[in-house]
Each structure stands twice: as C-alpha cells, then as structure tokens.
C-alpha cells in the first residue's frame, strides 16, 4: 500500500536558522511527491513537487526539497526560517488518480 510518513508532529526552529521537515514514503513504481503548506483557517497551498530529474527541487517562498531514492525520503528545507513560515506542512504522493497525504508536521519558527 502507498503511504507517507512524517515522523515529527512538531518542529521548532529559531528565526534565521535552517529548517528541515521530514517526509518518507512507500510507493510502488516511480514516486511523484509533493509538499503543501496550510496556514490557520485556510486550505492547502502547493509548495513544490518532484517528478523526475534533479533531486533538489526548488519551490515557493524559498523552500526546497531533496529527493533521496535510496532512503525513500523527500525532506523539505529552507536555509533561513521566517516567523511567517509557521504553519502546518503536508507531504503527499500520487497514488493512481488520487493523493495520499502524510499526517502533517506543525512548524513553529520562534522569533
């Protein structure tokens, strides 16, 4: 079965420090991987996706993600965190015509 894990419920980081939000996946075949962000009382916003090619994918708001096939991971990163990055982050993979989402990781960036 296809699945996505986000091993950390909560990530805390100081403003200006680099951040990493972890994601691992289990899929058959080539994975199509996504990251979304959700701010309070809003829907999910697309950040970036990996389809094929370069393992480092750049997305919106300065975020990037690194695909690692051997570790079946797709970690989200940002070199310098902002307080406004505080939100809920979801990793997802396409399974058939639908998406399988991870449980989410709450990121808190402390001033």
């Amino acid at each position: 079965a296809q699945s996505v894990a986000q091993p950390e419920d909560q990530v805390n980081v100081a403003e200006g420090n680099p951040l990493t939000v972890k994601c691992t996946y289990s899929v058959s075949g080539n994975p199509y991987l996504f990251w979304y962000v959700q701010y309070p009382n809003r829907g999910l916003q697309f950040l970036l996706k990996y389809i094929t090619g370069d393992n480092l994918v750049k997305g919106s708001y300065g975020f990037e993600a690194e695909f690692n096939k051997s570790q079946t991971s797709f970690h989200l990163k940002k070199p310098s965190a902002l307080v406004s990055d505080s939100a809920l982050y979801f990793c997802a993979v396409i399974y058939g015509q639908n998406f399988v989402f991870g449980p989410g990781t709450r990121l808190s960036v402390l001033p």
């Binding site: 829907g43 999910l44 697309f46 389809i51 015509q97 639908n98 998406f99 449980p103």
Partner: protein, 114 residues
C-alpha cells in the same frame, strides 16, 4: 491563489438540519475531491469525482453525498447534520493533462453542528 471557491466559509447549524457545502472551480479541472480535516489534523478523503456524472466514495466513510452535474461544481450534502459532522471540509481539484499535476485547494468550510 487558485480559482477554487467554497461557500460558506463558516457554518453553525443545529442537529438534524440538511446542509449543502458548495465548491466551484473556474479552471476547467476534470477531477475534484472532498476532504474532511479536524483542525490541525490529517486530511481524510471522503469523496472524489473524475468528471461529470462520476462520483466515488473515498477512504473515510462519510454520511455525506456529492453530485457532479457540471464540470465546475461539486457540492457536498449532509441530509441530517449531527455533532459528529463538526469538522473542516476542504474541496480540491486538479487537471490530469499529465499524471503528476498538483491539486488546488479551496479555503475550506468550517462546520459546527450543535
């Protein structure tokens, strides 16, 4: 911002009432989805549609029903609301011109059933 709209944004209603949550998108997307999400928690797929007159139940059993009479419109109906239906409902859509297009989400409807 994606062109996908949900109304109402907030709804407080009494037990036993019939409600319809509206979702519309202006992008011409063939696939549409409804998710249920308790605040700050994971998403659960409750319904999806691959096109007009196509609807399927998702992974999470739901007492709601959906219809897809027009491409742009995918309303969700609860015939008799109960407190257990209190949650946030997110609508999404995507095109499958390619196999790996992302989903676009609406802003959500936060439903409270008293």
């Amino acid at each position: 911002e994606a062109d996908i709209y949900q109304t109402p944004r907030y709804l407080v209603i009494g037990t036993g009432k019939k409600i319809t949550l509206e979702c519309s998108q202006t992008m011409g997307h063939d696939k549409m989805y409804w998710y249920q999400q308790d605040p700050g928690m994971e998403l659960h797929l409750i319904h999806y549609s691959y096109g007009v007159n196509s609807t399927e139940k998702g992974d999470l059993s739901s007492e709601s029903t959906v219809s897809r009479i027009r491409t742009e419109h995918f309303p969700l109906t609860l015939e008799s609301a109960r407190p257990s239906h209190t949650s946030q409902y997110l609508c999404a859509s995507r095109t499958t011109v390619s196999s790996y297009n992302e989903q676009f989400f609406g802003p959500g409807t936060r439903l409270t059933v008293l």
